[in-house]
């Protein structure tokens, strides 16, 4: 059955808007942070920019996305549905959102330590790890957007 053009009750729209806007900010921060870290080489200014984009854009975006997700999940009544009836697209989105949040926090901790080490004149190795993790997060969230939009199965 196709869900394209399915009619949605009006009171689902605002929670969905919050969810999507948060996800867009999250991905915007990830793209910015990843680009800055990738092109930084050893430039301290760009390395810091990459970290702070993840911290001040992606992380708030993740919180808004997750709050919106819970809001629309409850509003759509999925709380009352047995887990065996939850569709794959919702499972994929939820797993990636939550696991991604955990990885994002780890990324920010590693990046934060990396920025502190950078300011004390030490190597930027931890910020390279931050770059790798942010690329992984970006790829995972692209899959989540694909699943939430295309609704496989």
């Amino acid at each position: 059955m196709s869900l394209i053009a399915a009619v949605r009750p009006d009171d689902w729209n605002f929670p969905l808007f919050v969810h999507i806007l948060g996800a867009m900010i999250l991905i915007g921060g990830l793209v910015t942070g990843t680009a800055a870290l990738a092109f930084a080489k050893d430039d301290a200014r760009l390395l810091r920019l990459g970290f702070w984009a993840l911290m001040l854009v992606s992380f708030p975006g993740w919180i808004i996305m997750r709050l919106g997700a819970q809001w629309i999940y409850t509003r759509e009544g999925w709380d009352d549905v047995p887990s065996s009836f939850i569709p794959n697209w919702l499972d994929i989105g939820a797993v990636i959102a939550d696991a991604g949040g955990l990885v994002l926090v780890i990324t920010l901790i590693i990046g934060g330590i990396g920025v502190r080490r950078l300011e004390s004149g030490k190597s930027s190795g931890l910020l390279k790890a931050t770059l790798v993790l942010s690329v992984v997060l970006l790829a995972a969230y692209v899959v989540a957007v694909w699943a939430m939009a295309g609704k496989p199965n």
Binding site: M24, G28, A35, F39, D43, L46, L49, V57, V142
Partner: protein, 159 residues
């Protein structure tokens, strides 16, 4: 997942790409307001290119996949109010975005001139170009238009 669902997924991914690029430019606008040297201005160039690419993919993808869906999905028609509104807003956003790009290119152009002249230190004119209020106003306008498109796509007025 059928062909139309794939097209919808690409349409939505394009919208994410567009907003990601605009978010990136917001970060560069904030950071650029304190930059007054040619070297630091030009250092942001590769990051800005990523923003240009994501905005380009986003603008192209949203219109191509969106118009396809307007014709392919039985319950949508290209003359539905919410689809016409989105098309008008898309063209307005494209125009504003082009103006934003032109305003923010002045800083890097000046930075290249200064570097070519061997001036690598702080420059007040470069700082003023990096702080362009015209560019800021256009980017704010583009952001409002994109938010209106998102609202239009979710609420679908008149559908």
């Amino acid at each position: 997942m059928g062909f139309k669902e794939w097209m919808l997924a690409f349409h939505v991914l394009s919208a994410f790409s567009l907003v990601a690029g605009m978010t990136l430019f917001w970060v560069l606008i904030v950071v650029g307001r304190k930059i007054d040297t040619p070297g630091d201005t030009l250092r942001l160039g590769p990051v800005a290119k990523v923003g240009n690419a994501t905005v380009g993919i986003g603008m192209g993808g949203t219109i191509i996949f969106g118009v396809y869906l307007a014709f392919a999905v039985d319950s949508y028609a290209i003359w539905d109010f919410w689809i016409l509104a989105a098309l008008v807003l898309w063209f307005v956003g494209t125009g504003l975005g082009r103006q934003t790009g032109e305003a923010f290119l002045e800083g890097p152009k000046k930075a290249m001139e200064l570097e070519a002249a061997g001036q690598t230190g702080p420059n007040a004119e470069l700082l003023a170009l990096n702080q362009t209020s015209r560019g800021l106003a256009f980017h704010a306008g583009t952001t409002v238009v994109v938010l209106l498109i998102l609202i239009d796509m979710i609420w679908k007025p008149g559908a």
